[in-house]
Symmetry: C2
Subunit: 189 residues, 2 copies
């Protein structure tokens, strides 16, 4: 799906890693429900399984089940909240901190949906893609990751991220998960 498209249905990411930095279980394009033109492209990092739903169906559902509408609306508000944090992250933190922040977010979000145990999770992503997401050069991403590893904060092998020292990483990242708006039960780090 590309910028400029005018989709007539929304979809849900059921399985895999998608782009625009979206994770399994997310519904990245509620956008398309109320905005006619797509203003960003969506891609996949890994092979993904997605479900589609017609806009009409969804709108009808929202109309008859205000709770659902509220939940989805809430979802878009949280997205916006996350974007705000990213603006801060990308605009004001230096590379090391920025990287740490994404990693913290990744862990917490995946834990919240049961896709990460302890402080370890899959990270099937290339350094070039990370660079892209963080607005850094791939070379610099590499060096920053080495630093983080060298300081014993994380381990990274075979597409698996392990946070060895959560508290330090959190401090480096200046990470406070409030912006993710998780339920208390999900928020435990």
């Amino acid at each position: 799906m590309w910028e400029g498209d005018r989709p007539s249905r929304s979809f849900v990411l059921l399985e895999g890693f998608g782009c625009t930095y979206k994770l399994t279980g997310d519904m990245p394009d509620l956008q398309s429900l109320h905005l006619k033109v797509l203003d960003n492209s969506l891609g996949t990092i890994t092979p993904c399984q997605v479900g589609f739903i017609q806009h009409e169906t969804l709108l009808d559902l929202c109309h008859r089940q205000p709770r659902i509408a509220a939940a989805l609306w809430r979802e878009t508000l949280i997205d916006a909240s996350i974007f705000r944090e990213w603006i801060l992250n990308v605009g004001r933190r230096e590379a090391r901190s920025r990287m740490a922040h994404v990693l913290c977010e990744l862990i917490v979000r995946l834990r919240a949906v049961g896709l990460a145990q302890d402080h370890r999770c899959k990270l099937p992503i290339t350094q070039v893609e990370m660079a892209d997401a963080l607005g850094l050069s791939a070379v610099h991403v590499n060096r920053v990751l080495q630093e983080l590893r060298g300081d014993g904060l994380i381990r990274l092998d075979g597409g698996t991220l392990t946070v060895l020292d959560w508290e330090s990483l959190r401090q480096v990242a200046d990470f406070d998960p409030a912006y993710l708006h998780l339920q208390r039960s999900q928020a435990a780090a």
Copy 2:
């Protein structure tokens, strides 16, 4: 209003310049309607006039007038869209381009609501505040503005911004207003 607050009503900016980079006429905290905790602080740049509305009232209104709910939802989606563009702007464009981009956005948004004529508008903002918004140092903001002026792209005096060469500024900014999701009638630049 501060991070961590749990507001029971929303408000509308009726007049003035508010912070989190919001402009007159916006409704910056629909957020609070569905999310319990405020995850960002709101401030004002200039003295502002705001209207308040109880959450209950608003929810009730949405329930009885789905069109209103849809419109407000749409609003939050556009916000998210703008945030996405900002992530791009702040993360990937260098200072000169970044600055040009905000100025373009400012002009277009103010024109859309009739607050800017031609390519000129009020910009009652200090360079320090700009620096803050752009994630740059105040010193650098100053230099970039000088460049832009030196190249004859803008003029800036007494809190008034005048774009002297819109097309060039747009190019420097790599600005495409699609992400603002304006109606065609509003979008004319």
